[in-house]
Symmetry: D3
Subunit: 153 residues, 6 copies
C-alpha cells in the first residue's frame, strides 16, 4: 500500500502521441485556431502545421499570443536580416540543447542557403566561446578597467 | 578535530586577485608570452592585455593554443562577416550566463556599430527561442514528418 | 594597429544604465507605450514601471506582444491558481540562474503569503530533483518497462 | 602506438545495460538493499523497482541516504500539497533537460489527475519565464528601487 | 487596482538576510540541530557553521538528511581520494554557475594543496570539453561504430 | 505564399549523415588533414578517425587548432594524472548533457580502469553538488565571513 502516493491508481494508462499534451489536428481546427493554422502555413510557405503549433493549439489563446509574438519578432524590420535572425535562433537552440529545435533550425539555415562551410564556422564560434565563457566563470575573472571588444572574451 | 578534512590547516590564507589563479603582469612577461601579449594588443587594437589573457598566461602553452584558436576562428575568412561573428559570440555568452563575457561582448557589438535597437532585436530572438526551446523539451515534441524552416521552432 | 578589429574606434564610450539598451522613462512614454505602462501598473498594483518593461519599451511592438503574452498566461483561468503559477515562475528563474528574476519572484511569492518554511520546501524539492536529474543523465538510465509516478525520479 | 593513452587496451569490452553502472536485480538484493526495495515498492504503490534505484543500489549506503532524503522531502508535511510538489519536480526535470526524468514526472502528474489543459498551462509558464529570464540576463537589468511581485519578471 | 495580483498588499516588507529564508543562529540551535551543528564544525575542522547549513536548519529533518548524505558521499571510502572528490565538486560548481559554491570549492581545493598551476589545468580541461561538448550537440554527431577513449571527445 | 520566408524553396532536400555538416572520409583526406588523421589514430591508439574529427576536418585549419589544443591540454604534464583529467572531462560532459560525449567518456574512464563502483562514486558527487549548487542559487546565500573548505558547499 502506497504511503504518500496513495491517491494514485497504478492501472492508469498514459499514452503519448506527437507531444505529451496531444495535438489539435487541422481537420478539427475551428475559428481562431483554423485561421491561425492558415496563417502559419501561408507565412512559412509550407503545406502542413508543425507538431509544435498543433500542440499549443489546445489552448487557443496561447497559440494566438505565441504566433503573434513570433511574427512580430521574426518578420524583417530593417536592422537584422533574416539570415542573421535564423543564425541567432539556431545558436540559441544549440545552447538550450533542444533536439527538435536544432533539427528545425539546422534545416532552416541550410534552406536559407547556408552551406556546410558556413555552418561549421557558426559551430566553431559556439565551441570557442562556450569554452571561454566557462573558463571565465571558473576563474571568476574580474572586469577589466578599460573596455575591449571581443575577439576572444 | 576534522574527521574527513583533517589534512587541512584552517589558517590557510587564500587571497583572490583579478582571477582565482592570479595573473602574469605585462612587465613580467617573457619570451613567447611577451610576444603573444604584443600580438593580442596589436590584433585587438587596445593598449593593455585583458585579465582573461593575463590569467591563462600562467600556462604559456595554453595561452599559445588558445590565442591561435581564437585568431584562426575569428579572423574574417569570407563566409561570416565580423559583425555576425560577434553577434554569435554575444548570444553564446548570454546563454552561458557569463557576466564577464556578456560585458565584453556587449561592448564589442556596440563598438562595432550596433545601436540599441539592433541589440534589442537580438535579445528579442533570444527571449523567443529560449522560451520555445524549453516548451518543446517540456512537450517532448516528436520530429515532423516533413521539413520546415523555422520562423518559430 | 588592429588586424581583424580595425573598423573599431577604441575611444568609443559605452555607458550602461539600468539595462544595456537603456530605458524609456514614464514621462517620455507616448501612445501605445504610455497605455501599456498604465496597464502594467494597474494590473500589478504598483506605482512604477519595473526596469524590464522600461527597457523593452524601446521596441513598442515587442513590449506589446510581450505584455499580452504575460497577461494571457498569468491571469487565473481555472486550472492553476495564482500561487502555483508563481511557484513555477520562481522555480524556472532559479533553474535559469537569473539574479534579477529570482529577486522579483522571491519577493512575489513571499508577498503572496508563502512563509520561509514553504519556501524552504520548494528549495528542497529543487535540490533533490536537480541532483537526481543529473544522476540519471550521468547513468544514461534507460526507460522503465512499466510506468511509475515520481516520488524520486 | 598511443602517445598519451598508452595504458589503455583497445580490446576492452564495455557493455551497457539499463544504466552505465549496471543494476542490482531484485532477486539478488540482500539485507538493507532488499529492505529498501520493499519500502520503495510499498511507498510508491508499484510492483517493481525502477531502474534508477536498481542502479544506485550498487552502493547500498548511497541508496539508503538517497531514499531517506526523497522520503523526507516528498512526504506531505502540511505546507505544500502533493500535486504542487510534483509540479515543481516536473518543472525542474524540464529545466534540467533529463529525458528519463521528464518521462517519469509527466506520467506522475498525469497520474495524479492533471489533464492536458493543466499541463499545457505549466508549459506556458515555463516558456514565458525561461524567455524573460534570459532576456534579463541579456540586458543585465539592474534591480528595481522598489519591490514588485512578478506577473512577468 | 491590481487585476490579477489583487490579493497582494504592496506595503509588504521583505527583508533579506544571509539567505532568502533566514538562518538559525548557533545560539538558538537546540536538540538535533545543535548536535548537527557540532558535528559539522568537528567534521569540517572549522569554528563556525557556514551560512548554507544555518539556512537549511530551519527544517531540521532536511538538515539531517542533507548532512547525512554529504557525510556518506564525501568521506573517503577507498576508490576516490579526497582531492579527486573536491576536484569533481569544484567542476560541478563551475558548470552550475553557482558563485557561492565556486568560492567555497576554490578555497577548498587550494586549501587541500592545489597550486595555481594545477587549478589552471582543471580550468583548461573545463574550457576544452565545454566547447567540444557544445560542438557535438551542434553537429548532432552520430555515435561511432567502434569505441574510442576520449583525449578529445 | 510565404510572407517572411519567401526566399525559401520548400523542395530543398537536406540529408543528414554522421554529422549535420558531413564528414571528410579518411580515403579523401589530403595534406595536413591526412597527417592529422594519422596523428589522431596514433595518439589515441585506435584504427579509425572518430566522427567528430571527420566532421571538423571540413575546415582544415579548425581541425588543426582544435587537435593542437587537445594534445596540449590532455597530454600528461605532471600536475594532474591522466585518470583525473578523464574524470573532469566526463564530469563536464555530464553537466553539458552531451549524449555523444557522455558515451565517449564513459567508455574512456572504464577503459582506463575505473570500475562501476568508482563511477558510481563520481555520479554520487555530481548528484550531491548539482543539488546543493542549485539550493544556494535558490537561497541566494551570501558569502561566509570566514573561509571553509567544502565537504558540502
Amino acid at each position: 500500500m502506497a504511503e504518500f502516493c496513495e491517491e494514485k491508481s497504478p492501472e492508469t494508462k498514459v499514452s503519448k502521441g506527437l507531444t505529451s499534451v496531444g495535438t489539435v489536428e487541422e481537420a478539427d481546427a475551428t475559428d481562431r485556431v483554423k485561421e491561425t493554422y492558415g496563417d502559419i502555413k501561408t507565412t512559412l510557405g509550407i503545406d502542413f502545421v508543425p507538431n509544435m503549433y498543433r500542440a499549443i493549439a489546445k489552448d487557443p489563446s496561447y497559440l494566438d499570443v505565441t504566433w503573434k509574438k513570433i511574427k512580430s519578432i521574426m518578420k524583417a524590420r530593417g536592422k537584422l536580416d533574416r539570415k542573421t535572425q535564423d543564425i541567432i535562433a539556431l545558436t540559441v537552440s544549440i545552447m538550450s540543447g533542444c533536439e527538435y529545435c536544432i533539427n528545425v533550425y539546422t534545416t532552416a539555415v541550410k534552406h536559407a542557403g547556408l552551406d556546410d562551410e558556413t555552418m561549421l564556422e557558426i559551430y566553431e564560434i559556439i565551441d570557442l566561446y562556450t569554452g571561454l565563457n566557462r573558463l571565465n566563470i571558473a576563474m571568476q575573472t574580474k572586469p577589466d578597467d578599460k573596455p575591449w571588444h571581443g575577439c576572444g572574451g
